[in-house]
Structure formats: structure tokens, C-alpha cells
Symmetry: C2
Subunit: 279 residues, 2 copies
């Protein structure tokens, strides 16, 4: 496992990738949980070479968001990666990634301004730009991303297709704690009481799936019930949306492609989760 | 010389480029003049393989601009290319380049909203996006562009550097008619009288260079004199600017990096030209 901190060195390596080999890339912001590690395992399964990047990307955080407090622990992350076949860990500095004056930004219109994009203006611009840069630096065949950030995966698939990039995204299932809470680096912000409250996201998903299975397809009724569960547990709703998995547009009647998308504040911590209604 | 109309076919070819060979790319909108052909000749000199693209890019034209009337003559262009060593001509359809729903755009902030960007909102967004797409499809080592579009070259050099692309731009000198008019596909819009008026751009450049050589460094005085020449010849000024060749910012006192930038309407035809003051 080679740790690379220089973008020049990364480019030298990726310019010489053996074309007969499949290169897998797992972009991360570090502070690994089983969700991240499941992506590394999947890259190992599908690819000959695995590259993991660890970079807390400043440009995807808003001015009042948690960039400085976002959890970081490089040594722990590297230790966790030892159980996998990771060929390269790319860990550049923000100064190398965004040298002054940095001017170029990628925007995926329509998909970036709804849901999480409505609450976090500029977030997906930052995500799209960093992923395009990392894709150019690493030149992977496959990129592995978790479905917890479902909108992110949709935005990035669209970007790679629109810009004629050679990289394809493999999206992998959400990994959950035993009680159902979706794993997230931000879960460490929760105190014990909030940790219990945080279950309301998964409860809402399960209840919505049950109602759908029982024949309830009216999106406004599904949304009312979801709202009740979140609010009765003390969560503050950022959004509850039922969307088409491809377009991210909200239908009035749910079908087998409809996905429940949730963003909820538990205390000051914003958590997201999502699932197909047709479980 | 192989003509390629399919982006899939172009990708298949570029995915197999021999890494020991230098790939040169000349992006054009066709309707060749000696300026274009000088770029092809330079690509031939510096590279092993030369790819020329011919694509009138709709996204860089404003709603009231000349996209539909922009001159096109593919057969004549292909005939002209026969005098050079052109391995591939890439000529995709707009539908292939911008399949519906197309959503992803690249913006080079700061540099895109001044000069031509101020008169043509969205122009450089369209230019940056198409060049990034073509770069991804063709994967050249070197891209050859004319300095007549000096701002475009600056925007694109910035984009390729910011996005960590492997392609480097080689900018080539402006090619002029015998009387000094910078070659442009849009020169065919000029009637004989306008063709004479159009010389005012070159005359302004020459006069500014002479004044600079004589010791006049005050940008506002240089600008006043340039304005007089254009207006007395019947041209309508879009902008006259004296800018630093790297930042495109206007200094108050000219130096050896200062460049005169002109955009002038001759009748309904908008012409641009530029040159270093230090000729």
C-alpha cells in the first residue's frame, strides 16, 4: 500500500496504468466506517488495482457547515485499509487540489439544486468538481460509491456521461448499524439520546415500505405519514421526498422506481437516508 | 484521413493511442482559412498523429447570435486538409454531443465574464464544456489553438490546469490577410465597403504599438487614441481593452505583458483582434 501525497506522482502512476488491468477507485473523505470499507471490498472484487482517496473536500462544504470539525483520523484509516488489497492511497493537500487562483467549476444543472442541493447551495458543484479532478488524476475504469448519498451518485453518473469520461460508477448498497441507522462519519456527532432519536430515519423508511406494500401509492399521503414519524421522535425535517430513482423528480403516485429520500436534523447533526419503496 | 462521425468510434480509437506517440488535436468549427490550416501544420510539426475536429458548437452561441448562419462547407474543408497529414477528422452531430437531457457545464470563473464574456453571456461556458468533452473523447497530448481568440486560449489553459487534464495547449500566432485583417470565418459576412472598414482593428493595433514604443504607457490615453481610430472609420466599439496577458486584468500603466484586445462591429459583423503592445 503506497501513500501518495503529490498530484504529480499520482499522474505519473496513472499515466502508466496497464490497459489490460481494471483500475478501481474509491473516493472518500476518510474517517472510515463499514460503508467505506464495503466499497473497498467491492473494488477488490471487481478490479485488479484499487486506489482509495482520502480528501476532505473544502469546496463541498458551505460557509456554516462542518468542514473544520469534520472528523479526521488518517492513521486509523490506513490501519483499517490494511485488511484489504489497496494498492494506492491518494491523500493530497487542499493547496495542491485548489491552488490559487482556482477558477474552474463543474455544475450538473437541475439535479444539483434540489433535495440536498436546495439545503446546501454549491455542495454538488464542489462534489462534481472534486470528482472530475480525481477522475482525471487517477483515470479509473470503475469508481465505487455508496447509495447513502443517492443524489450524489445520480449527479456524478450524469456528469461522467455528459462529459464523455471513461469512468463508470458502481453504486453499492447502504451499510447500516444493527438497529438500522445508516453508517455515516457524522454519526459520531450524536450523543446517546440523539443516537436513539436518529433511528427515526430508518423507521420512516420501513413504515413507508410497509404502507407501499399494502397498496398506498399516493405520495402526499405517504409523505404525511413519514412527517408524523420524524416529528414525533423529535427530528427536525430538512426534507422528505419521494422521487423517481432516475430523474429525482417527485411523482404524485409512487411506483416501483420511487425512492424515499430523507434529510433530518437530530440536534445540530444533519443525517440523510434513502431507500426504494419497493424493498 | 479517416472521417469519424461517431463518438463511440472516436473513443475506441483514442483509448488505444500508442503512449510512445504524441497526439495533436486541432479543434475547429470548420470553414477553414489559413489560420486553421496553420494550426494543422503546427500539429504536424510537433506530433505523430493529428486529429482535427469540425463541429459548430451550438452551446457557445447566444440566442441572438449567428449559429444557424455560421458558414459551413465540409467538402471544401476536407479538400483543404488533404495537403496536410491529418489522421482523423472528427465530425460528430450536435445530437451525439448534447444528447437530451444534457445537464453538465464547465465554468471558468472570473475569466469568462469579462471582455467577450461580457458581450456574450454563456459563450465561454459553451466553449469550456465542448473543449473538455472533445479532450475526453480524443485524449490529445497537445491541442493547437489560434491566438486570435486570446481570451478563449486563456480560459481553456486555466480549465485544463484546474481540472488536472493531461492535455497542454499550444497557442499559435494570428494569421492575417496581406492588408493586416485577422483571418476569420466571419470575414465572409463583410461586403466590399465593410471589408475596407474592417482594417480599423489592425490600424488601431499598429498605432497602439507605435505609441507604446514611443513611450506612451498610460492605458487611458492609449484607449482614447484607439477609440478615435475605430470610431472615425465607422466601426462600432464593443470593447477596447488593454490587459495583462496572464490575468486579463486591466492595468493603469502598460508594460511588456500588456495586450490590446478589440471587439468591433463592422455593420452587423462582430470582429475581434489582439496583439502584445510590445510588438
Amino acid at each position: 500500500m503506497q501513500i501518495i501525497e503529490s498530484i504529480l506522482q499520482m499522474q505519473e502512476i496513472s499515466n502508466k496504468w496497464d490497459r489490460g488491468k481494471k483500475i478501481g477507485f474509491v473516493p472518500t473523505m476518510g474517517y472510515f466506517h463499514q460503508g467505506h470499507l464495503s466499497l473497498v471490498a467491492e473494488a477488490n472484487r471487481q478490479c485488479d488495482t484499487t486506489v482509495v482517496s482520502i480528501f476532505v473536500n473544502p469546496s463541498q462544504f458551505g460557509p456554516n457547515e462542518d468542514f473544520t470539525s469534520y472528523p479526521r483520523d488518517l492513521q486509523r484509516d490506513l490501519e483499517l485499509l490494511k485488511k484489504y488489497r489497496v494498492d494506492y492511497v491518494f491523500h493530497p493537500s487542499p493547496q495542491q487540489i485548489y491552488p490559487e487562483p482556482y477558477r474552474t467549476w463543474v455544475n450538473v444543472e437541475g439535479l444539483s439544486s434540489i433535495l440536498c442541493g436546495a439545503s446546501r447551495p454549491g455542495h454538488f458543484r464542489g462534489v462534481a468538481t472534486i470528482i472530475l479532478k480525481l477522475t482525471n488524476l487517477i483515470k479509473p475504469n470503475l469508481m465505487f460509491m455508496g447509495e447513502k448519498d443517492f443524489q450524489q451518485v445520480t449527479v456524478l453518473k450524469t456528469m461522467l456521461k455528459d462529459l464523455n469520461c471513461n469512468t463508470r460508477i458502481v453504486s453499492c448498497p447502504i451499510v447500516r448499524e444493527d438497529d438500522g441507522l445508516a453508517m455515516s462519519s457524522r454519526n459520531i456527532y450524536l450523543n446517546p439520546e440523539q443516537r436513539k432519536q436518529a433511528l427515526c430515519l430508518y423507521q420512516t423508511i420501513k413504515e413507508s415500505q410497509t404502507l407501499y406494500k399494502q397498496g398506498l401509492k399516493d405520495v402526499s399521503l405517504l409523505k404525511n405519514r413519514a412527517k408524523e414519524i420524524i416529528e414525533s421522535s423529535g427530528g427536525k425535517i430538512d426534507y422528505i421526498s419521494f422521487v423517481d430513482s432516475n430523474s429525482l423528480q417527485e411523482p404524485t403516485v409512487a411506483d416501483e422506481d420511487t425512492r424515499i429520500m430523507l434529510a433530518v436534523y437530530i440536534g445540530k447533526t444533519r443525517l440523510i437516508d434513502n431507500a426504494l419503496l419497493k424493498a
